[in-house]
Amino acid sequence: MAYLISDEAKDLLQDVHEFCENEVKEQCKEYDKSGEWPKEIYDKAIEMQLHSLEIPEEYGGPGLSRVDIAALIEEMARADAGFATTISASGLGTKPVLIAGNEEQKKHVCEVIVNGGFGAFALTEPGAGSDPAAGTTTAKKDGDSYVLNGRKCFITNGGIADFYCVTALTDKSKGVKGMSIFLIDAGTPGLSSGHEEDKMGIRTSNTADVVLEDVRVPAENLLGNEGDGFKIAMQTLDQARAWMGVVSTGISQRAMDESIAYCKERVQFGKPVIKFQAMQFKIADMAIKIETSRQMNAYALNLMDMGKRHSKEAAIAKCYASDKAMEIATEAVQMFGGYGYSREYPVEKLMRDAKIFQIFEGSNEIQRIVIANNTIPR
């Protein structure tokens, strides 16, 4: 079972599977240890155009449905969740522009991605995580330009991006209604990346501080209008969350695949442990969680394709799929027994990788707030 996808996507999925098996899966084991950002793997992925799946067709993307893309992203996540996260984070960085940017801005960011660049979305600050309104980054209008100052943290692709969508307060007195988003190219004077996180998981992705010191950008780099920032950021996350559900499900699928393979090989009490119903039930529970995750991801993505509201559904997809990924990865470690706890075997990495999906792009507690707000009538 998998996503219901087009014949075209089935064909592409086979290519992506082959690519990930040959170029990503084993290679990422070493990068997981070193924490180095595997540029050569990304170069190959870019050559194959795996990085630009989400770019709209009119701006040079392939023109696949979101569910078709989900199947491909899940396959990448199955090989390495950090790899899929990097690719998805460029999509995240592009979304504010596609949601609120003008034609020129849209063309610009899509061209950067299609030509092999990366994007980043910079919202989180040291004192503003689940509460983005507490941010202190400011943008002051100065003639025909804005001058930005502040520090962003935990920014995926922060150290390697070619452009950034940065939230900043244009009017501190208005709280979130005074927040705006600016499109800033890497290399703009005053913009730099700072501390890189030494993370527990998704170690093949880059997570860094983004520092803004008197960064002067032309006024036309503002996305939408002053004060639109919070709304654009929330719409961006509404879309991006479903993709994190997709990546989480890739981790779950890998954990189940590894568990089945191991339990067929591991002999105890004179037979492969897969013959024991205790193990079979664990696999069945994994399959239930994976398939239900997929259905929710697909539903949220279909709503997006149809241009319908999807805040609640994307939040459910992200929250559910990541909670299930953590449960499944933990269960996989259990099924491997002592070997599951060893770095020589693949499942402890999955457990480390899965955890962040319950935390970033809105913690699962925040997702539950979004879900409750969209469920309880006012």
């Binding site: 075209e8 592409l12 194959m48 155009q49 630009s52 799946l53 392939p62």
Partner: protein, 267 residues
């Protein structure tokens, strides 16, 4: 440059093949892929074409069942410009010499439109039966030269110059064109299809040839086959070894050596 690459669709060679109830290899459920050596041939042709940077064209030809169209589409995504499938029930059971006859007659048809081919690539062998004869028979049929085990190619002053892999190293071989080149593993891997090339390739038509192209149908199929496989065997199963575990490692080693001397493995 007018380039032809001949490919064969084979069962995925990373999957272990067993013998079916009919005594033949059970391959029906195994995914079909382009023979690895043919993918090297296509990659070599594509790189050569790109190096020329002119309007050279790569035609891909396959003799096989209708389902081989999928393999041809994959070839169109990684360098082939046009693709053709020679498929007919009458071709079934052809041995390498029969396949070479089919390719020769298909080439004659293709050349009516495309003009004469300068370079004709094949893999050095297919990963299924590994007979390694089709390319050589093809050169015989076409009355051209053949360079086997090619790992690099260039054309200078109208002559093909190929780097031929040998057991000891390599040698440079020159031939007039047209020439048949059977390709071994070069020092690079075939490219992956880009998403867009793959999507475009899926939409391209694959034209076909049937047995009506044959000048002499008696040379192909079961009836024309000069080589017949009598019986197919599975490789012998690996038997469990003898476990030697004495009190110390030293004793274990001595016992193992003793057993090998007894079995006359060591003198």
């Amino acid at each position: 440059m007018n380039i032809l690459v001949c490919i064969k669709q084979v069962p995925d060679d990373s999957v272990e093949v067993g013998i079916g109830a009919d005594g033949k290899p059970a391959i029906d459920s195994i995914t079909k892929v382009v023979n690895a050596f043919d993918t090297y041939a296509l990659e070599m042709a594509a790189r050569y074409k790109e190096a020329l940077g002119d309007d050279s064209e790569i035609t891909v030809l396959c003799v096989g069942p209708d389902e081989a169209k999928n393999s041809l589409k994959n070839c169109l995504a990684v360098g082939g410009n046009t693709a053709y499938l020679a498929s007919d029930a009458a071709f079934s059971g052809s041995d390498p010499s029969g396949v070479a006859v089919i390719i020769k007659d298909a080439i004659a048809k293709l050349e009516e439109d495309k003009g004469a081919f300068d370079l004709i690539f094949t893999g050095k062998e297919a990963t299924d039966a590994a007979l390694g004869q089709t390319g050589i028979y093809l050169a015989e049929q076409l009355n051209t030269g053949v360079i086997t085990n090619v790992i690099a190619i260039d054309v200078k002053d109208g002559k093909a110059v190929a780097k031929q892999e040998t057991d000891e190293g390599y040698r440079m071989v020159e031939s007039d064109t047209p020439v048949v080149l059977t390709v071994s593993k070069p020092d690079y891997d075939p490219r992956y299809p880009t998403i867009k090339n793959k999507m475009a390739a899926r939409k391209k038509p694959i034209e076909g040839f049937d047995a009506s192209i044959l000048a002499d149908p008696s040379l192909v199929g079961d009836a024309g086959a000069k080589v017949v496989a009598i019986k197919t065997y599975e490789p012998p199963k690996k038997e469990a070894g003898v476990k030697v575990q004495e009190e110390s490692d030293e004793d274990s080693a001595l016992k193992a050596i003793g057993m090998m001397v007894e079995a006359k493995v060591l003198g």
